[in-house]
């Protein structure tokens, strides 16, 4: 019996390790079993360490061993040995990270086979679509990659350090100007303030922010309790302004909206309108209230500029995936993992030890149709 026929009733783990949050669950299920912070508690110092703050390869190996142990024995509750895994990964994931992860999975946890799928591509499977522009706003960066007929157009990719990390830093700065002791607050508190109090404001209001005398009343302020004794004030101005860094153009006139348009510009003429009418937004940061409405307004605003007039785009259309955006890529991996692709394309343990290398996306030899 071919191996892929026995796989269908096997439990296949789907893993998406993000810079801030890790999505973990089983293929064929509609949502991940858990979304947890990508961090482990160091046994020696008892301090919480982020996986992506690793010092060197050995350090990353040890962090991943601890982290994956937690995933399997606290959440999945089954032994990883001789079981397959689907890893969802960004096309821009650093080589050191992907190779160390493969080493941990194959050598330490002795998994039977691993299928690495690119996050931008597999997110599309949640829509059943083959062509779309995918914008992933994660923790460290925002990455836009057009996918045409099931293949990521890698040369058109756009990335900017506009993600949750930048928002958190901005929030800290804004709060510090009105309160004291903000710099001592851990990032989890900053994140909580962002998630519960802040939102993406409307374009018309944002235009007023830069005027000398803004003609608007800011949203009501929020009293936010810190540690049960202190209270800090989060003014309406902070609540509205914190997300503006995503849309303010930097010195090179780059922002979230220009990323999308620049990515479309790099694709063949025939496909441009189709991409503009198939935009998929994924990543935790796009779930902020008002995010999508604002992005749409910004895109239309950019169209008026000379740089994008030649695109001749009239409308932008957005997909709403059948899930929460922060696990859309995971869900895509889960859909792939439920099919026979696993048996056909996965890297087996035997092959891993034989070839001692991983398939790489830009590598033609490995880039067969997924």
């Amino acid at each position: 019996m071919p191996i892929y026929e026995t796989l269908s009733d096997r439990l296949t783990v789907v893993l998406d390790i993000g810079a801030a949050y890790t999505k973990f669950g089983f293929s064929g299920e509609y949502a991940p079993r858990c979304i947890i912070r990508s961090e482990v508690r160091c046994k020696k110092t008892n301090q919480v360490r982020r996986i992506f703050d690793f010092k060197d390869e050995q350090d990353l190996y040890d962090l991943l061993v601890d982290f994956i142990h937690t995933l399997y024995f606290k959440y999945a509750l089954f032994s990883p040995k001789d079981k397959p895994i689907v890893v969802v990964e960004s096309l821009l994931s650093p080589t050191l990270f992907r190779e160390t992860l493969a080493k941990v999975l194959f050598v330490h946890y002795e998994i039977s086979m691993m299928l690495i799928v690119p996050s931008h591509l597999v997110s599309l499977s949640t829509l059943g679509a083959e062509t779309a522009l995918v914008l992933d706003v994660g923790y460290i960066e925002a990455v836009a990659i057009p996918v045409c007929f099931g293949l990521p157009v890698i040369h058109a990719w756009q990335a900017l350090p506009l993600g949750a990390q930048a928002i958190h830093n901005n929030l800290r700065t804004l709060l510090s100007s009105e309160n004291t002791g903000i710099n001592q607050l851990p990032e989890t508190v900053i994140e909580d303030i962002k998630v519960r109090c802040c939102f993406v404001t409307k374009q018309k209001r944002a235009e007023q922010f830069n005027l000398a005398k803004p003609d608007i009343t800011f949203a009501p302020e929020v009293k936010y309790p810190i540690g049960g004794s202190d209270i800090i004030t989060i003014s309406g101005k902070v609540r509205e302004k914190v997300y503006e860094i995503l849309y303010d153009e930097d010195n090179d006139h780059l922002s979230l909206s220009t990323m999308i348009l620049d990515a479309i510009l790099k694709v063949d003429m025939h496909l441009r309108n189709q991409l503009a009418e198939n935009i998929l937004l994924i990543g935790g940061s796009v779930m902020a209230p008002g995010f999508k409405a604002r992005l749409k307004d910004e895109l239309h605003k950019q169209l008026k500029y000379e740089r994008y007039k030649k695109l001749r785009i009239k409308t932008f259309k957005f997909h709403s995936p059948p899930c929460k955006e922060n696990y859309a890529a995971w869900l895509g991996g889960g859909i792939y993992g439920a099919t026979e692709v696993l048996g056909m394309k996965a890297l087996t343990r035997e092959k891993y030890f034989l070839e001692n290398r991983l398939p790489d996306w830009p590598n033609m030899r490995d880039n067969r149709t997924l």
């Binding site: 949502a31 032994s79 039977s112 059943g128 007929f149 109090c197 025939h270 957005f318 869900l331 026979e340």
Partner: protein, 499 residues
């Protein structure tokens, strides 16, 4: 037993190269090697609910998505919810004599959240019937998954057919590299208009979702209404229910409690268990517990004189023999290059250039019964030990004489007669002994030129005679005794200034 949690001043080097206190180490009696949580293979042994202690077979646990059907946790604070009796109205309003009917609701005793807060009706039965919520996208997702499955299966069958057709024929360059012309067209951004049979015959992928121009409207409320923080969920509360991620507290619903597991640990070299718990969740005992604490002499620091750079200080260590057999301790200088055991075994190291070990799957003969059920199990890969990273900055004068440790005798603890086993000790080395314990005096010298307050670490190799009772076969009545070396590291405290 406070030393288990206290700072680890005495560490043993595990075979894998990590340093651990003896309470964290295992001793595989089959390999005669130390093992630790890092270098053994962890396996899930049994699933159980930590609240109601129900044991679930793994297939049932999988079906229930690793959650207990009866126990719930609080969606606010993750504590366990208790079932409470609510209203007690008569079951039949017309007949006041009918027995009162109990109604139940769930309540958190920790944060006062209750199922009534979110409008879940009270239930007539204490054991549940609580409403379960389905993923709102379930139908669409089912369709997508089924569609992809069929699509990929057809693709594979098509490829197999093509392979059969092409067999023996000339293989074109593009096929050999795995890039079909159609794929190449796509790669360079051309539309795949190729009227290829491959594309015509494939089944339809799931219906494509329609993108819309309209997006979620900006929530105007945010600009005018004051925000009540108590109504907004935190990110942790949201992520507790990944498919729903409720943003307001009125959408928090009780969550089935996640199951716990018992783990067994298996030596990766010989596939024997070094730890296996009893199946019953109420039992904290083990079927197999090869803890190093029961097999390797324990070293503890008793006293150490103040340490000064270049000056010799007196160190008193206590050695305890935990086994039922007499042992002899020999001191050897620390050898960090020593790779320990596993020498003749194929190992996978940093380079990973070696093939998988060609071990045979466990056969029925001569294997412990615990392996019989695991016929599909592949043999483990042995990982090359790491070099020990701990540096020492203090020398120990290695004594020439040996220390004999009598076997452990639980009764001797209550014996004050001071019976001495008639051991001829080197009095310069052994300062005091009682039953299976001995106090040993050593001279340590911190390296010259160390700065004040430097942490002083010394190390030595402890050779002890290990009596293996497992290897004793019927024809060989003599227990197998042989030397076993353990590298021990002592954190002796910080360097102090001159007198």
């Amino acid at each position: 037993m406070s030393y288990i949690v206290s700072p680890d001043v005495v560490k043993y080097a595990c075979t894998c190269g990590l340093l651990k206190p003896i309470s964290c180490l295992y001793f595989c009696r089959y390999c005669c090697e130390l093992r630790c949580g890092f270098c053994v293979c962890h396996e899930v042994d049994s699933h159980f609910c930590g609240k109601c202690c129900e044991n679930l077979p793994s297939s049932e646990a999988r079906l229930k998505k690793n959650r207990c059907g009866n126990c719930y946790i609080c969606p606010c604070c993750q504590q366990e919810l208790s079932t409470r009796i609510g209203s007690k109205g008569p079951s039949n309003p017309e007949d006041p004599k009918s027995t009162p009917k109990k109604m139940y609701y769930l309540s958190c005793l920790y944060c006062r959240w209750s199922s009534r807060d979110v409008g879940i009706p009270d239930q007539g039965a204490a054991t549940g019937g609580w409403p379960e919520r389905e993923n709102v996208h379930a139908n669409r997702l089912q369709e997508v998954i089924e569609g992809y499955k069929a699509f990929i299966t057809a693709q594979r069958q098509q490829k197999e057919r093509e392979k059969k057709k092409q067999r023996g024929k000339f293989i074109s360059y593009t096929d050999r590299t795995g890039v079909t012309a159609a794929a190449l067209r796509k790669r360079i951004g051309l539309p795949a208009e190729v009227p290829n049979t491959y594309y015509r015959n494939r089944p339809k992928p799931p219906e494509v979702a329609i993108a819309r121009e309209e997006v979620e409207d900006f929530p105007e409320d945010l600009l005018t209404k004051a925000l009540n923080l108590m109504e907004i969920t935190t990110i942790d509360q949201r992520l507790l229910q990944p498919d729903l991620q409720p943003t307001t507290v009125d959408k928090l619903f009780p969550i089935h409690k996640q199951l716990s597991i018992k783990r067994s640990l298996r030596c990766r070299s010989c596939e024997h268990n070094v730890s296996k718990p009893e199946y019953n969740p109420n039992s904290v005992k083990f079927k197999i517990q090869l803890f190093a604490y029961y097999h390797i002499p324990e070293v503890r620091i008793v006293t150490v004189e103040p340490l000064r750079a270049g000056k010799t200080a007196e160190l008193i260590l206590k050695f305890t023999n935990p086994t039922q057999h007499q042992t002899v301790i020999t001191f050897l200088p620390l050898d960090l290059t020593d790779k320990g055991g596993d020498g003749d075994r194929e190992v996978v190291g940093e380079t990973q250039s070696l093939n998988l070990p060609e071990k045979q799957p466990p056969s029925l003969g001569g294997q412990p019964s615990s392996l019989l059920s695991l016929s599909s199990r592949q043999p483990s890969i042995t990982i090359k030990p790491r070099p020990i990273r701990q540096a020492t900055n203090c020398s120990i004068a290695i004594p020439g004489s040996k220390v004999i440790l009598p076997p452990r005798d639980d009764a001797a603890e209550y014996d004050d007669s001071g019976e001495t086993h008639n051991i001829q000790d080197d009095t310069k080395l052994v300062v005091w002994r009682k039953s299976n314990k001995a106090f040993v005096k050593l001279a340590v010298t911190p390296d010259d030129g160390l700065e004040l307050n430097t942490e002083i670490v010394a190390g030595f190799t402890m050779q002890h005679i290990y009596t293996n009772t497992i290897a004793t076969t019927v024809e060989n009545k003599e227990p197998d005794r042989h030397d076993h070396n353990v590298r021990v590291f002592l954190s002796l405290g910080n360097l102090v200034g001159s007198e």
